[in-house]
Subunit: 244 residues, 2 copies
């Protein structure tokens, strides 16, 4: 059947504008879990931008526990995309087609995540949607928000495909210094940073190629630089340093 | 936490380009089911456009039974969007916020559908992904394809929200003439048009406001104009007419 009203020879472009921006505990890419839902204590918010910062546009959303975010992988754009990728689902070894993956490096750089919906909040004249269990970088532009509708989105007979998630979690310990820093941070901010670090690290954020080396790593959660050591027995969180 | 690397005062725009175009049994908006998965016999394909018409970009996708399509509601753009809508989930009576709905009339006009993945096909020098159970209009521009990953996409504890799907199906009968036309159409095209008409009509495609009237309707499936009568006992398919 020919497409009469849109010829495939034409190059058509559409413009999208962010309706919101993500505030996230994930201040840099390293450390972000590879799918949403894995780090239960991850917290963030969508700061809504005009003209989408009107409360009436969200009436009824409070009845949904989960929402879809369609977003832009804005920090992947500069690097472009390649036709095939090596997804972490296959241990970073085997190549599959880009469209058989959820890689951020893809045409149009569109992302899709289901996150927990924690409610609306007004602060400083701005409107926010609080979210949990996210896997999104701070500053991510949101281009759409939709309710997660189990009736159509939860496909009971969907095949897992080649995806092999490891249920194995890394053992995580804290130095006395790191433990004390987490406590102080929680007193000041109310944020349970220790649980967040624990949940992020037990997913093993290291690239598959580095998993056999003993070395130190750093990652930025909120504005805290977290240093940890990877050795044979697991991870040990060494120190926390707050950035300005 | 302020957003340092992207100020919300700036208006930032991004450009998206279709990676493919939908070929669909739904040649016009009227008749399209309100969610994917409802009409099992619905068939279509994604015609891939350069530079995304390379087979290697889909290697591994054959292991997934379902795929996500991110697309543009291109035929809703001209009408724009309003902050609140009356979703069919609430019988078309009550108003909710746009972002609490899956309405096509939304900022950025981005859609999201999970469809059944039926495999790749080459025809006439073009590459296609065959799909089933779709709810997409013929000609719809596709801006991304991703595997449906049950591990993260099937949220077991998600709330149904205010969505109330009616399981009640309309009784559908066929006139002798319509029945014969379906048989002839299937002989020529191989398409089981009778099952498709049956499944589309039993979902009741009428707007909520017209559900109490006795009247005739027409809808275009593939290139066949289907006429049916709505009366107290259900729907009766009267005639089929193939358009040029």
């Amino acid at each position: 059947m020919p497409l009469e009203h849109q010829r495939s020879e034409d190059v058509v472009e559409y413009t999208v504008q962010p309706i919101g921006l993500i505030h996230s505990c994930y201040s840099e890419k390293f450390g972000i879990p590879r799918q949403p839902g894995l780090v239960k204590s991850a917290r963030g918010a969508i700061e809504l931008l005009p003209p989408c910062n009107r409360e009436e546009m969200f009436k009824g959303l409070e009845t949904f526990s989960h929402i879809w975010l369609q977003f832009l992988f804005h920090e992947s754009m500069a690097d472009g995309w390649r036709p095939t990728v090596r997804p972490p689902w296959l241990g970073g070894q085997e190549r599959v087609g880009l469209f058989a993956s959820r890689s951020p490096h893809r045409p149009n750089f569109l992302g899709l995540s289901v996150v927990r919906h924690l409610g609306m909040r007004k602060e400083g004249g701005k409107l926010f949607v609080d979210i949990g269990e996210l896997d999104l970088l701070h500053g991510t532009p949101i281009v759409d928000i939709k309710p997660y509708v189990p009736y159509s989105d939860r496909v009971e007979d969907a095949a897992q495909g080649f995806v092999r998630f490891s249920e194995k979690k890394i053992s995580v310990r804290f130095s006395a210094e790191a433990d004390a820093s987490c406590r102080r941070y929680q007193e000041v901010t109310g944020r349970d940073l220790k649980t967040l670090i624990h949940e992020v690290l037990e997913q093993d954020p290291r690239p598959a190629s580095q998993r056999k080396q003993e070395r130190e790593y750093g990652m930025l959660l909120w504005k805290v630089n977290v240093r940890w050591l990877a050795d044979e027995s697991g991870f040990k969180v060494l120190s926390l340093e707050e950035k300005e």
